[in-house]
Point group: C2
Chain length 234, copies 2
Amino acid sequence: MAKLRARDDVSAEEEQVLRNLISETRDVAAKSTLIRAGQRITISTLLLEGLMCRYKDLNDGQRQISELHVAGDFVDLHSFTLKRLDHNIMALTACKIAVVPHERLQLLSHDHPHLTRLYWFTTNMDAAVHREWELSLGRRSAIARIAHLLSETHVRLGLVGLTNGLEFRLPLTQVDLAECVGLTPVHVNRTLKLLREDRVADMQRGRVRIFDLERLHAIAEFNPAYLYLEKEPR
Amino acid sequence: MAKLRARDDVSAEEEQVLRNLISETRDVAAKSTLIRAGQRITISTLLLEGLMCRYKDLNDGQRQISELHVAGDFVDLHSFTLKRLDHNIMALTACKIAVVPHERLQLLSHDHPHLTRLYWFTTNMDAAVHREWELSLGRRSAIARIAHLLSETHVRLGLVGLTNGLEFRLPLTQVDLAECVGLTPVHVNRTLKLLREDRVADMQRGRVRIFDLERLHAIAEFNPAYLYLEKEPR
DNA sequence: CGGTTAGTTGAGCTGGATCAAGCGTAGTGG
DNA sequence: CCACTACGCTTGATCCAGCTCAACTAACCG
């Protein structure tokens, strides 16, 4: 909700409408796959607590995570229009989620064009993240990819109050991280070591500490414009 | 239009509404950048003829194309909700486009929830393509990336009647292709040679010929589900 | 305190990058 | 009609970022 308000004005009445979309909340176990590609879905999932991801895989088991989701993210709002997803959704940690039935979104899209556009906007932001990751995967070096991921999560977690200055929890294993940035776990390990030794940033046991934000952003060529942090006149 | 009808029912009246969105048509020169990242936009662009792409670049000039667009694609419908794009849009060939002012989309989103959902759906499909490309860039080998790109464009061009069986025009240079698949032009050249020598597919002077579709798809691990070709009950 | 999962490090390898030269062909203008 | 140029494609030689394989260590957990 805070996430939406950061980008556009939401009236008190609208806020109530959004709250009423939720039919129930649920707990999800760590490392469990919540939604599988191809299955027909009639609800969407709002992430309240924990870390989730979208991923696709190849026949040999190689996996590519296409986006990370943090508290406040609508993990699969796009399933409302797509009906089936082209990717899996997995909880990386234990999570708390809110369930939003598609019928309620259907009603929303009928009666609340402004909120519909706002939700449309959030799915377009996901696409913007995908594009930035395509740039990372296609063109950035290993160290830049990891620096970029840390920069992005730093901003996104900061938006929902989950950072403490330059420190934050990011409970990813090095294997998970490797699946985000298209590298092997071994190389991720060596690259993290580089960042640590250069006193740029450190990631240990699910905790990130940034020592030099400016240098981190420079290594990543991080430009947060794709995260659409500012409110636009509409 | 045919593209939409392939995925959902559009009434004759709705079709008229969509036609009226267009304010004008225009020609765009090959190799010209139509929209630059960050600029505020008040129109969206429907591609009528030609080939366009979305791309982002790094400071050293390295470029990553994040999606190709063919006739019938709404190239930057997402700018309606985003207001500024996070990427550039370039015409790869001479193109014909239709201009849709955002004010008209605003009215549409107010009066036509069904069509709004349909347009929302198309931007979600773009995101699905981005995710599949992330998988390619992160995990597929060079030959699989190229085989995948050929498989995808074969289907997408086929949808709008721009293929002739296993042959189609795809006026990309090897440099363009390299920027799609995150490789160097030299390596793209060698990989195309492999595909040609293995009698899988051939790409020369902007013309693709597939010799063995099954093998092409197998190399790519191509699964067209992410292109949402079937109409879903809604 | 034993087992299991995550992280670390070394040695050697390889897919794709880099650098560089040459080729084919479509314009272009004299 | 033919040089000249420019652009895209091709090929060879060499290099290196990141991969693979394998062994070891640290932390956590019941």
